[in-house]
């Protein structure tokens, strides 16, 4: 069943056509890759999906629900969470608090209960702590829960970003170049983490990546963007052997 459907999506910035007539269908539980040379419009697609940009035309639906014109916050509530190419953790907050920000909309107590620290406040905060700890354990970050996010090593910051995104309980997880800046060993470990997340949380994942080894290793289907348009689309193995794709990446 299709979870995310994108039809004829396009956006222009003045005269620049950043994304043009993009069609893409991602099924429930799929691991989908979005690849392409630098400047092909991949991150723009993420910004369109998360409501940071409003498309000039086209349709985006998640689980049958229209997303075009919704605000970023509403889209997160509808079920899309993302990580960033250049890690954007809340660096001066603890590892635990980063995850608890992700949990924000799933736990409720009113303002005055919080200011006056009534029993309701303690109960909810305690269950938030427990839920955050569970997530941190999954990513082997539980020992660092009290540390500042800024003090984590690079690979762990990437993991924390994924944990924070998962805390918002998304239906679709967007990963923007998760392997950027990683060495082959770290990339190898990351591949395992992504596959683990997918199985453990029954998550549908759309990822942008440059590392072809990672893409061919874990993605079932890919879309190749070039200058904002779809160059090729389909099963990963077929697409990556497509001469046009090879040409776009390597030149003539």
């Amino acid at each position: 069943m299709a979870l995310l459907e994108v039809r004829n999506l396009g956006i222009s910035f003045g005269g620049l056509r950043a994304v043009d007539s993009l069609d893409m269908t991602i099924d429930q539980g799929q691991l989908y890759g979005l690849i392409g040379p630098n400047g092909a419009g991949k991150t723009t697609v993420f910004n369109l999906l998360t409501g940071v940009y409003r498309p000039t035309e086209g349709i985006i639906t998640l689980d049958g629900q229209n997303l075009v014109g919704k605000k970023t916050v509403e889209i997160n509530k509808a079920g899309i969470a993302r990580t960033f190419q250049n890690i954007r953790l809340f660096k001066n907050m603890s590892v635990m608090d980063n995850v608890k920000i992700g949990l924000h909309n799933h736990f409720k107590y009113n303002l005055f209960t919080g200011i006056l620290r009534l029993p309701g406040y303690r109960k909810v905060e305690k269950s938030m702590d427990e839920r955050a700890m569970e997530l941190l354990k999954v990513f082997d970050l539980d020992k660092e829960a009290g540390n500042m996010a800024a003090n984590l090593p690079y690979g762990k910051q990437r993991k924390l970003e994924i944990a924070r995104a998962l805390a918002t309980e998304p239906k679709l997880l967007l990963l923007d170049e998760p392997a950027a800046g990683m060495n082959p060993n770290e990339t190898e470990e990351l591949m395992k983490t992504i596959q683990f997340v997918r199985e453990k949380f029954k998550m549908t994942i759309l990822l942008i990546e440059h590392d072809m080894k990672l893409v061919s290793g874990i993605c079932e289907e890919v879309t190749v963007l070039n200058f904002g348009t779809v160059l090729a689309q389909g099963k990963t193995g077929d697409v990556l052997n497509d001469p046009r794709v090879v040409k776009a990446y390597l030149g003539e």
Binding site: V52, T72, V73, F84, R88, I101, H104, G114, T168
Partner: protein, 295 residues
């Protein structure tokens, strides 16, 4: 011995004025931390708080406690409305445009008060009826005790609120990275409104304590404590909550000591002089973080 007692009394006076500055400075620093703007109308919220108390208590004759709570609510709501009407449309504008707007709002509030309450100062008796105490020969007035208790409680509650609650966590997240917070489902508009509400409520409390001390109302009464609290916020490191508290208290004590032992006329000059020296030595303020900009 007399000298020691005198110094201690001056220190306590300084602590009283300083903790009022600190309460006001918290509003500047929190708003700066989240909205990255200097809200120059913040000082006039103090004035609105003072006049509200006068209206509710002095004119309408409500019980003091009710009048205090209503005045705080009026200021909190006013803070939120000012943000929505004047600052929110300019959120992506140049900082200078926002700054000028804030000064405009400040003039608007002062002149509205002038229109409604006229320029003649209105005498207003303190609502605080706590007897003064004498400890080891040191005289501490009732208003000082109330001021210190109220400001200490406010600061403790605020610190716990920011560090330990959901809304406080959201405030910290928004102040670090609005975009990322929004993508994690945090409502940035709601968080900014809440910040203005809390900052203005604290300014209202400061206004009430201030008016009980000076016992006279005029439309410009918020200007000087407002600007001094701004200095306190910068002194402590703007954007830093503990910095605003420290800055306020340091400023109050310097002011009180220089008034007592150097010169009443020069005290403001000394206060601003200290700011200049601190900023020369540590440009980010006492507790401010040094930001290394990537180029």
């Amino acid at each position: 011995m007399d000298l020691v007692i005198n110094i201690v009394e001056q220190l306590i006076n300084g602590l009283r004025t300083g903790s009022i500055y600190a309460l006001i400075a918290l509003g500047y620093t929190m708003v700066y931390g989240i909205a990255k703007m200097i809200n120059f109308a913040h000082g006039d919220i103090i004035m609105v708080g003072a006049y509200s108390l006068y209206v509710f208590y002095g004119i309408l004759g409500l019980p003091a406690a009710v009048a205090v709570i209503l005045s705080i609510i009026v200021c909190a709501v006013l803070g939120v409305v000012i943000e929505k009407v004047a600052y929110k449309p300019l959120r992506n504008a140049q900082p200078l445009a926002v700054l000028i707007t804030a000064i405009g709002v400040s003039f608007l509030l002062q002149n509205l008060a002038l229109l409604i309450f006229k320029a003649t100062p209105i005498p207003f008796g303190s609502i605080i009826r706590v007897p003064s105490v004498q400890i080891a020969g040191i005289h501490i007035s009732g208003i000082t005790i109330v001021t210190l208790v109220v400001t200490t409680i406010s600061m403790i509650l605020l610190t716990l609120f920011i560090n330990k609650t959901k809304a406080g966590r959201a405030m910290r997240a928004v102040s670090e990275d609005k975009g990322a917070a929004e993508l994690m489902g945090i409502s940035v508009n709601g968080t900014i409104s809440l910040t203005f509400a809390i900052g203005s409520a604290l300014a209202a409390v400061a206004g009430l304590l201030f008016i009980c001390q000076y016992e006279s109302l005029q439309p410009t009464l918020g200007a000087l404590p407002g600007i001094k609290a701004f200095v306190a916020a910068v002194l402590g490191g703007i954007g830093s909550v503990p910095g605003a508290m420290l800055g306020g208290i340091v400023l109050g004590i310097i002011e009180s000591l220089s008034k007592a032992y150097i010169s009443t006329q020069l005290s403001d000059a000394i206060v601003f002089g200290v700011l200049v020296v601190v900023l020369l030595v540590k440009p980010s303020g006492l507790l401010g973080k040094i930001r290394i900009e990537k180029v």
